[in-house]
Symmetry: C2
Subunit: 208 residues, 2 copies
DNA sequence: ATATTAATTTAACGAACGTTCATTTAATTA
DNA sequence: TAATTAAATGAACGTTCGTTAAATTAATAT
């Protein structure tokens, strides 16, 4: 047998992406074989090479795609110039965007080590771009006195780790709604940088 | 050749542990071969089987060892019963203990997926034990009104992710001392749960 | 000095790996 | 309808994988 009735390159390509993403996230890049991917797609391993030159490029493409989408969506989301509001927008965006893409996020944070130098440089640069967005917000907020940021770099790393960590425990259909989770994390992020905003239980910070 | 002059089982065993830990953390469990480990130890791959029945048991043993040490050290560190002080002790301990064990921590968080069911259950139980320590502190603090904990489980996960994240960026010999980093993280953790403690710039929270 | 135990080697097993290549069939174009 | 292009197959390549077995030598105990 060779070409199969009804076969479509675009469909197969997207199936390869879908299956690779799930398998890489679940088992790790190195532990997944081309035959394993092919089997779940419903083709032979050799068919994958019609779409990707090698296994490594599947990973690079998945990561590139995710980071591009993340950056684009983030820029669209940050609409205000006020640092505090902007920090809240960022926190909420990060939770909202990542909570529904657990596999992409996991890959992005865990499989950088599986990238060869060229791909690594590309993806690391995109990640750095994203981190810089948050650092700028923190620097602005600290400078204008509305936040208490000990160290913008450390704070940014801490906030990102905290937010991204939601994927280690969240499973859809759980006890808490996504909106509720977003609220909790946004509140913790703001508080962690010395901002108090709970409207339900309003407080005021006064120097004594 | 066979047995080598001066060879010592205890030395070889600990070399295997050391090398495996570094390689698993750097490349991922699945990407590391027995021959690769053996080569760095300075023996043939078959020699490893004198010490571990298979590759999987090396990983299990490393993770088991790390979690045991973590739990033991943590219990020793938490000396006070005051929830706020206890939370600070926990945060500082977690940073201090983990920052010097980046490979173990990375493995513990990333290679649970590489464990077969039995080993997974063992390690997951130990991790859960550790998480429960933090959750209890948060519950106590919230109940007694000295903290504002939206949800103890979410807060615990957020705090752990934030603290553990230090290993994604910290490299020894960097700009900040370990003590300074500990201070920054401890402060963020406390603030994130509605506690204000900065002694240098004292404030008071007043309900309006 | 001899027997035993500890530590390692070399050689080999079958299985799986990523990848290439020639071939085959379906769909599209001329 | 014929020629071309798209999408897949199946077989094979050399390599590496985890693991086992038998042999060999060093250290220790008798």
């Amino acid at each position: 047998m060779a070409r199969i009735a009804g076969s479509d390159g675009e469909v197969t390509r997207s199936e390869i992406r879908k299956v690779s993403l799930a398998l890489f996230a679940q088992c790790g890049y190195a532990a997944v074989s081309m035959r394993q991917i092919a089997s779940q797609v419903g083709v032979q391993a050799s068919a994958i090479y019609q779409y990707y030159p090698n296994k490594q490029q599947i990973l690079v493409s998945l990561l590139q795609n995710h980071m591009d989408g993340l950056l684009k969506a983030c820029h669209k989301e940050l609409t205000t110039s006020d640092p505090v509001e902007r920090l809240e927008q960022f926190a909420r965006f990060h939770i909202r965007y990542n909570i529904n893409r657990p596999d992409e996020v996991f890959l992005s944070y865990m499989e950088l080590r599986s990238l060869e130098p060229e791909g690594f440089a590309t993806i690391a640069a995109l990640r750095s771009k994203y981190e810089t967005i948050l650092k700028s917000i923190l620097r602005d907020g600290d400078k204008s006195g509305v936040m208490k940021v000990d160290d913008p770099h450390v704070s940014a790393m801490a906030i990102l780790a905290m937010l991204t960590g939601v994927n280690t425990w969240y499973r859809s259909g759980g006890r808490l709604s996504q909106k509720k989770i977003e609220n909790i994390y946004a509140s913790m992020v703001l508080k962690s940088q010395g901002i108090v905003t709970d409207t339900a239980d309003k407080e005021e910070v006064i120097h004594v």
